[in-house]
């Protein structure tokens, strides 16, 4: 998407081979290399890229972590987990050559001397492997470790790119826990890396269907004229999970659904759905338009929050016929926890295009099924012909399925066969998996390649993150108030959330779409 990156690439042999900027060989240094993210996502993604021939062959991976370990032990552990989590089977020959480029660097994050030896190791690798001074630092460690890591990278001269090379940092979410902490985190990152060098990863944006929202909207002429307050009645975004906290109790108790999902993933999706057409496909042109959406979100007073936001927490219930404990009964959870495992919001974007169009969002754990979908509900047809004097016809609904079963469907009205004029809603359905036999790459694969190519389009910019937190903070502050805080509603595991969430739409004469 990034034309700047393409313009820099003047390799004439690349012409026609790929529609994207070529990733450059580099050393990928992963901080938190023994953690879950590295084993489940990052190394399998890098392996898959190598197996598909997408990873520049000179690329080297260095795992940076505290535990004592030898290169070979690290490689063996990674092989085992990659075999488990890779989207394609691991081939011994490919793994063997891939693993030759994987190294382990044992060091405490606070140990300055360890970064100097890392710098020496990287220089050596540059000479031996042809990584040419390009470095990609991946912060897969806990956020409280970011500061010493970034400070020490700077002190060792690793944050500064040498002439003709680059140095970039990928920051994993959460990007703070509120506006102040996000600003503080951004300050810490900025002390070592410029905004252009910083890639804030939100894996939702690496999903094929999230990227397809832009194609759907701006490569098809039919939707443009309808995509506004004149034709759209309302928009719904649902992100449902059947899972509970699953071993993330420590984090979840401090985050909750609003911080964990809405601040990043759901607001990012909303931006793609609601943004104005960018002037071009440059990363900043797209991000400029996205940030305008977040800035235009109507800010609520405390009273407004009680009427427009519903928070919930799952109680005991059943998922797929199996009993499921309530949130407070889960392991390592405070039995009096007030954390939100469900949020429903009624939002408004106060801009020219969307003024007065409600956006309903809901996200929750322990819901009856898992999936993320966006639905655009168009206004009713005028009640002058088929529906004259009778029941209103169903609305046309355009559904964008983000996961699973990625695709797009459109609901419309059709005459039922017969001599009578009976009308029935029908669905036109496009499934990625049906139309395209080729499996999509994992989001991390796409995003790692983008970072290596210098294309930040699918990464969050500093102002996007801060604006999102500014919006979320008003809600969190109201919930944390000692007096008159909005109620926390309970819902049984396996239900679609508390009744109050249904009332949010019922008050407007609407209902959540059947998911």
């Amino acid at each position: 998407m990034n034309r700047a990156a393409e313009a820099e690439e003047r390799n004439p042999l690349r012409e026609g081979l790929s529609a994207r900027a070529a990733p450059q060989p580099c050393a990928v240094v992963i901080f938190g290399a023994t953690g879950d993210l590295t084993h489940r996502k990052l190394i399998p993604a890098l392996y898959n890229l190598a197996a598909d021939g997408e990873l520049p062959p000179a690329t080297v991976v260095i795992g940076f972590a505290r535990r004592e370990k030898k290169d070979d032990d690290f490689r063996n552990e990674l092989e085992e987990t990659t075999k488990k989590f890779s989207r394609q089977p691991v081939r011994d020959e490919v793994w063997k050559t891939f693993a030759q480029s994987v190294f382990y660097h044992q060091c405490e994050f606070e140990d300055e001397a360890g970064y100097k030896t890392l710098a020496q190791q990287l220089d050596k690798i540059d000479k031996e492997r042809g990584t040419r001074g390009n470095r990609l630092f991946y912060l897969a460690a806990a956020p409280d470790q970011f500061e010493p890591i970034l400070k020490n990278l700077k002190a060792a001269g690793l944050s500064e790119a040498r002439s003709g090379s680059w140095s970039r940092v990928i920051v994993e979410k959460p990007f703070g826990s509120d506006l102040d902490s996000a600003r503080e985190l951004n300050r810490i990152v900025r002390n070592s890396f410029s905004e252009e060098q910083t890639y804030r990863i939100d894996h939702f944006l690496g999903k094929e269907t999230a990227q397809n929202i832009l194609v759907l909207r701006f490569a098809n002429a039919i939707f443009g004229p309808l995509w506004n307050r004149h034709y759209v009645d309302h928009i719904q975004i649902t992100a449902a999970e059947t899972l509970g906290v699953e071993g993330r109790a420590g984090y979840y108790e401090t985050a909750g659904a609003l911080r964990d999902m809405v601040q990043n993933h759901l607001l990012q999706l909303l931006c793609l759905v609601a943004m104005e057409p960018p002037v071009d496909l440059e990363a900043n042109s797209i991000r400029d338009e996205k940030v305008k959406v977040v800035r235009s979100l109507r800010r609520y007073s405390r009273d407004d929050i009680a009427t427009n936001v519903v928070r919930g927490q799952y109680g005991e219930g059943a998922i797929n016929g199996k009993p499921a404990p309530g949130y407070r009964a889960e392991k390592n959870i405070n039995p009096k926890s007030m954390i939100d495992t469900f949020v429903a919001l009624r939002l408004f974007i106060d801009d020219w295009r969307w003024f007065g169009v409600p956006i309903y969002m809901r996200v929750g754990k322990r819901l009856p099924k898992s999936g993320t979908e966006i639905s655009v509900h168009f206004k009713h047809a005028p009640a002058v012909l088929f529906n004259k004097g009778g029941e209103a016809l169903d609305q046309n609904v355009l559904v964008i399925r983000i996961q699973p079963d990625e695709g797009i469907s459109l609901r419309m009205q059709a005459k039922m066969p017969g001599t009578h004029f009976r009308i029935q809603p029908v669905k036109m359905d496009f499934h990625y998996g049906t139309s395209f036999g080729k499996a999509s790459p994992e989001a991390y694969e796409r995003l790692l390649l983008d970072a290596m190519s210098g294309d930040p389009t699918l990464f969050a910019r500093r102002d996007e993150v801060e604006q999102a937190w500014a919006f979320i903070d008003t809600i969190e502050d109201a919930w944390a108030a000692k007096e008159n805080a909005p109620e926390l509603f309970f819902y049984p595991a396996g239900s679609w959330g508390p009744e109050a969430a249904d009332d949010l739409l019922a008050r407007d004469g609407r209902a959540w779409r059947r998911f």
Binding site: N11, P12, L17, Q24, P56, R129, D405, H431, S435, G437
Partner: protein, 350 residues
């Protein structure tokens, strides 16, 4: 696991194809989803091709849902005969248990009926979808201008051609009929995809670009019968790096001139193995090498001082299986401008 076999399906009367197709879906067992992204017409004059192409289409539809029109034509037959069959190729989608099915309509046209080709194609394409025509073997007169006006992409394999220049004239005439709208897709060019990719990646870093100005020689090994593939590869390098032919082929070698009059010696050597074997580019004492790895379906790539051991890496190699080549070709979009440039650069050598 034994390879799946596909059949031509049920014979149908020519005028009842639509009805039979409808029946096929009504009587199908279990949940099936019909899918189609393109109309793929496969045309051949080789006897036995209907069965062979049915197997190929069966494999292609695993990755690329389409409405396939498989046509065998025998223009020399004395008796007029038209036969048709309908069938479906169903595969479990990669996302789950859903059966995704592509329709195949097969035709045998014999004698004067062979002229019916355009009308057969026109009557049975899935509306609003692009038409890809895979023409197997050589083109010949008469070329029906009506047909070309409908075709979006014509797929052929120049490797099979005996007279390249004559065949290209047919293709170009077809393109003129279609007012240059047809995209030319040569499977002989598709064969080079992975090797081109592997060679290109050596020069992704701007610091390697200086090598373009000091390339001294190129060695390409090719299997018997695949010299045209190797020449196309050289044509690609020459066209993209702006070389011009200096000396025509002499015993497998030729010479190109770079824009600065630098000479580049190209050696083409026949050797048993995959269609295109090892390729080495030498520049300023560095050898950039791509060679088939021992395991067969991977490429070993290395960069280092000529003659000295270098760190090697593996990349996926090209599959030369016809169904895989077609699948690869169908997944590509857009015009093949680079191909045409490469072709024009070495046309006199082909």
């Amino acid at each position: 696991m034994p390879a799946e076999t596909y059949s031509l399906g049920a014979p149908v009367e020519l005028g009842k194809i639509d009805k039979e197709l409808k029946k096929l879906w009504q009587e199908g067992e279990g949940a099936m989803t019909r899918a189609s992204l393109v109309n793929l017409a496969v045309y051949s004059e080789e006897s036995g091709s209907l069965e062979k192409n049915t197997q190929l289409v069966g494999k292609i539809t695993e990755d690329h849902a389409c409405r396939a029109l498989v046509i065998y034509s025998d223009r020399a037959a004395k008796e007029d005969r038209v036969e048709a069959w309908v069938s479906a190729h169903c595969h479990v989608a990669h996302t789950g248990s859903k059966q995704v099915c592509s329709e195949q309509l097969s035709f045998r046209l014999e004698g004067p009926c062979a002229k019916l080709l355009p009308s057969i194609v026109f009557s049975h394409v899935d509306s609003d979808l692009p038409l890809y025509l895979w023409w197997q073997g050589e083109f010949h007169e008469p070329m029906n201008p009506q047909l070309w006006a409908w075709v979006d992409r014509v797929i052929y394999d120049s490797h099979d051609w005996r007279n390249f220049d004559e065949q290209m004239r047919f293709v170009e005439a077809a393109q003129r009929e279609a007012r240059q709208r047809i995209v030319l897709c040569d499977l002989n060019w598709t064969r080079l995809d992975r090797i081109r990719f592997a060679l290109a990646q050596f020069f992704d870093h701007p610091a390697s670009h200086h090598h373009f100005n000091s390339i001294e020689s190129v060695d390409v090994k090719f299997a018997p019968g695949f010299k045209s593939t190797a020449i196309l590869l050289v044509g690609w390098l020459a066209a993209q790096l702006k070389w011009k032919t200096d000396q025509p082929t002499m015993n497998g070698s030729c010479r190109f001139l770079a824009a600065d009059n630098r000479k580049i010696d190209v050696e083409l050597r026949q050797q048993d193995g995959p269609p295109v074997g090892a390729v080495a580019i030498r520049s300023a004492g560095i050898e950039f090498k791509v060679a088939p790895a021992e395991c067969g379906d991977l490429l070993e790539i290395s960069r280092g001082q000529a003659g000295e051991p270098a760190n090697s890496q593996l990349m996926p190699a090209q599959s030369y299986d016809l169904a895989d080549l077609m699948t690869q070709e169908l997944l590509r979009g857009g015009a093949h401008r680079v191909y045409l440039r490469a072709l024009n650069c070495v046309r006199q050598l082909l």
